[in-house]
Amino acid sequence: MSTPLMNKDPLVQLAELNIDIAVSYRQFDLAIKQRLPLGGITGIFGHSGSGKSTLLRAIAGLEANTQGEIALNHQYLINSSSGISLKPEDRQVGLVFQNSRLFPHLTVFENLNFAAKRCKHSKLTIDEVIELTELRPLLTQHADQLSGGQQQRVALARAMLAEPRLLLLDEPLSALDQHSKTTLLKMMLNIQKQLNLPMLYVSHSLDELQQVCDNLLVLSQGVVIDFGNIHQVIHQLNHYEESVIIHQQTSLSLPIKQLDNGHGLTSLAVGDGQEIYLIRGTDFAQHNQIRCFILASDISICLTEPANSSIVNHLFGTISQITHQANNVLLTVNCGPQQFFVTISAFSQQKLALTITQDVYLQFKASAVRTFIH
């Protein structure tokens, strides 16, 4: 199933997960065949019942009726045709669950130590991990004394201390408030970069995923719908009508052009000399690039260049695609190298007589350019 590696040096070798499995239940079937290069954080998106969690559990070895093959870095975790199936404790795959699953009879430190003392090849020390996850003040507490966000931090630290080759995250933020989400997402990004630990991140929240993931795998009803660069995949999802319903949007990673225009707005370069403004986030100074998204319903179309408007963003572009959907129309507008997605009513489309290759102006407020963690 695997092609021989060109590079024999295990350090340079890019982590890779090869999946070709079927998991069947009475009401639900999962059938996944996908090669996942594991750089950074790979997102897995889908609605409830799409099979995201089942996929993670199959990779971790927790789904007993998994058939097929999963190979991590060309080593089989399971290969049912030759009777190989590593036990979860032998896979060196970590999993952070939605509910932290801390051991209630142990303190925070003892929970961490549970993982550390069973790790056979430890390179990380407990101290290092405690620093990374800022758990020092909580070490003597029990799980029930912690907030949800603190519990997930402990769960993350505990999973890291087992030093997995791959860390799976199953909706780790879904039970948390916005502030804890932000803190934990930043922590995960930081950890991913410092330890170079590949992660698979399952979520039903596209906002979360597009802040941290480079690649995105989309599942619906147990099968893969799409995989690739996160922005491209989200743009392709804009055109799905049935199974994967998302808020249609433009998803962007753009370089900062000017950090602050003196009025608390940051400008980002779109690539053809044009720029978009958004409200400056507190930590923009630490970034060269900003990830953001604009809901298609937040953009309006003008046939002439807007003037005398309070709306700060207007971009010139060319309509490249028109898709009719019920009473709405989804327009794809190319602004230089960047595609933008706009939904307008069919009524407006008819009134303006919009056609493909027509030049238009896009208009949207700075506050419509949304970031999640900044």
């Binding site: 404790e89 009879h105 799980a143």
Partner: protein, 240 residues
């Protein structure tokens, strides 16, 4: 010459202690498999384990007496292996007690294992803990109270049994003459003074044991904590 009642007490404690140990050794894995079992046979095994709760002890004793006799296979095998007759021996009353007290050990353990669920065990496995490790580092500390309950109930129930022992053990001093049998003897011989003494001792002893179990199972901070976490886990138990 040792006092016959004291000797009966020693025999009883020996029998109950040995029975409890055997019950924990075989009852724990049995309870575990019952807790994890999903097949249709589960209810049959559960029914067999629970049978002593409803069956008259003399019925169980009668069948065991027949099985243990040298004319039948279990008794024959025992005799070949040990050179001694099984019926009317100390070993017979221990085997009888194990069967008779089985539900008192298996049921609380099974319930505890079912409540514990798989979520923490899965977490433990992914942190590198194998099955034996998981049992001692996760299951045992979190179900300690149920183990104490199971052991105490098994012990107390064995001390109090009469019918099974009468059928398969008879009344051999130092071998099968336990307290409940001694008490019956005293009553039959109209020796009410001795009967009173034995009865009140058993009553007080049982009260103390039960009070101790309930005290150990009082809702403590740790138990509350475990319960609240279990509830949280159960809320999320429905995975995709």
């Amino acid at each position: 010459m040792i006092d016959p009642d004291l000797q009966a007490l020693i025999t009883t404690l020996k029998m109950a202690a040995l029975t409890t140990i055997i019950l924990l050794v075989i009852g724990t894995p049995l309870a575990w498999y019952l807790a994890k079992m999903t097949s249709r046979f589960k209810i049959f095994i559960e029914a067999i384990v629970a049978l002593p709760l409803v069956l008259p002890p003399t019925v169980l004793g009668f069948y065991l007496l027949i099985a243990f006799s040298p004319e039948h296979l279990p008794g024959q095998l025992w005799q070949q292996a040990t050179g001694q007759q099984l019926a009317f021996s100390f070993s017979a009353i221990v085997i009888g007690s194990v069967l008779y007290s089985l539900p008192f050990v298996v049921q609380p353990l099974q319930k505890a294992f079912e409540q514990l669920g798989d979520s923490l065990l899965e977490a433990g496995a992914l942190l590198g803990a194998g099955p034996i490790d998981r049992f001692f580092s996760i299951v045992l500390p979190l179900t300690k109270a149920s183990f104490i309950t199971a052991a105490s109930l098994g012990f107390a129930h064995t001390v109090g049994e009469f019918g099974v022992i009468l059928m398969i053990g008879g009344n051999i001093p130092g071998e099968t003459r336990v307290l409940s049998i001694a008490l019956f003897d005293h009553v039959e011989a109209f020796d009410y003074a001795k009967a009173h003494l034995l009865s009140i001792s058993l009553l007080i002893g049982s009260m103390i044991l039960l009070a101790a179990i309930y005290w150990l199972n009082l809702p403590t901070r740790t138990n509350d904590k475990i319960r609240s976490i279990r509830e949280k886990l159960n809320e999320h138990a429905t995975h995709e």
